[in-house]
């Protein structure tokens, strides 16, 4: 029987640095909850709001697959590999930090905040060569289907990472139901609702709620209101 864990939006950690407001589904930086460390290989899910003209100064990372998904506005990225890029809503950015990378990110729009998801996945191999990539994922007009934005395969849709993980974005109309089939019975799925309402395994999820589901090979996702959500499949043991 499928196992589930529900993380309501208002139970997330909150860090308010003035220029950055971060809602953290799992323990991160100053937020520590021993019951909320990770969901399988998914270690970080931060729902960040960066004030206009502000951002993260240069800082290091290593041994982590770091995915950024802008939701509103844009972010400028600069890193120690020489990459300078801007990512905006509709795009997805990935960094394999591997042996080490320095980067900085800021919101170039001084008038509006940038909103984005920052997601960290444990790599399946330590000390890989650092890499950066970003792709445009066209989700507009695509409704009631899974839109793959990440996989372990360089030739597949979306970005790829060093882990057996698959991410899908979805926009479901109210009343629509779809089955999601996992790639392995040893995997789990963490669903994060961006807007609207879903029903999964008898659980109701509202905006910014997260649900982890594992020990199953497939499950049904029903939108009880128009809903936009992110579905992250990751290994539970890695």
């Amino acid at each position: 029987m499928a196992q589930t864990v529900l993380h309501k939006a208002d139970t997330r950690g909150v860090a308010d640095h003035g220029w950055l407001k971060s809602y953290q589904s799992f323990s991160f930086a100053g937020y520590y909850n021993p019951e909320r460390i990770n969901f399988g290989a998914l270690r970080v899910l931060n729902d960040d709001i960066v004030s206009g003209g502000r951002g993260f100064g240069e800082h290091p990372h290593d041994n982590m697959e770091i995915i950024s998904i802008p939701l509103e506005g844009e972010l400028q990225h600069r890193d120690s590999m020489g990459n300078i890029a801007t990512i905006k809503s509709g795009e997805i950015q990935v960094m394999s930090a591997g042996t080490g990378i320095y980067h900085a990110e800021y919101n170039p729009d001084t008038n509006h905040p940038a909103k984005f998801l920052q997601i960290w996945v444990f790599p399946n191999k330590r000390n890989v060569t650092p890499r950066y990539d970003q792709v445009l994922v066209d989700t507009k007009g695509k409704k009631n289907e899974w839109i793959q934005i990440l996989s372990p395969n360089p030739d597949d849709a979306g970005v790829w990472i060093h882990q057996d993980a698959w991410f899908n974005m979805a926009n479901f109309d109210a009343g629509v139901s779809q089955t999601y089939s996992l790639h392995s019975p040893d995997h789990g799925v963490y669903i994060f609702v961006l807007a609207g309402e879903l029903e999964i395994e008898g659980r109701t999820l509202a905006a910014r709620d997260g649900l982890g589901i594992w020990e199953t090979t497939q499950f049904e996702v029903k939108a009880t209101a128009d809903a936009r959500f992110l579905l992250m499949e990751v290994p539970m043991k890695f």
Partner: protein
């Protein structure tokens, strides 16, 4: 009130600037004190001269070096928790340390 003796934390990794960042973050806590080892042999040598409450393995060591370190530490310092550090900065560091120290 008597000041608590800080917990010594050994961090091992080959990227000097990332190690320095991690050491700065650890020292900032006030209750922990970081020592940097830049490679496997340095890590083993430092452990012979000082007791550590925790060891963090950072980036840059080969899989065999990581394995040998873990084996040597487990054999010689069975009470010292050993953690593979991920992320390279403040994101996961405190949770890794709290969890290892049983906080």
């Amino acid at each position: 009130m008597e000041a608590q003796t800080p917990i010594d934390i050994l961090i091992v990794g080959t990227n000097r600037s990332i190690m320095e960042t991690i050491a700065r973050l650890i020292d900032k806590d006030g209750e922990w004190l970081a020592t940097i080892a830049n490679n496997q042999s340095e890590a083993l040598a430092i452990c012979r001269s000082k007791d550590f409450g925790l060891a963090l393995i950072g980036a840059g060591l080969s899989p065999s070096e990581e394995e040998e370190l873990q084996q040597a530490w487990s054999a010689n310092y069975p009470n010292m928790p050993i953690v593979k550090h991920y992320g390279g900065g403040s994101g996961l560091l405190y949770a890794e340390i709290y969890k290892a120290l049983g906080n």
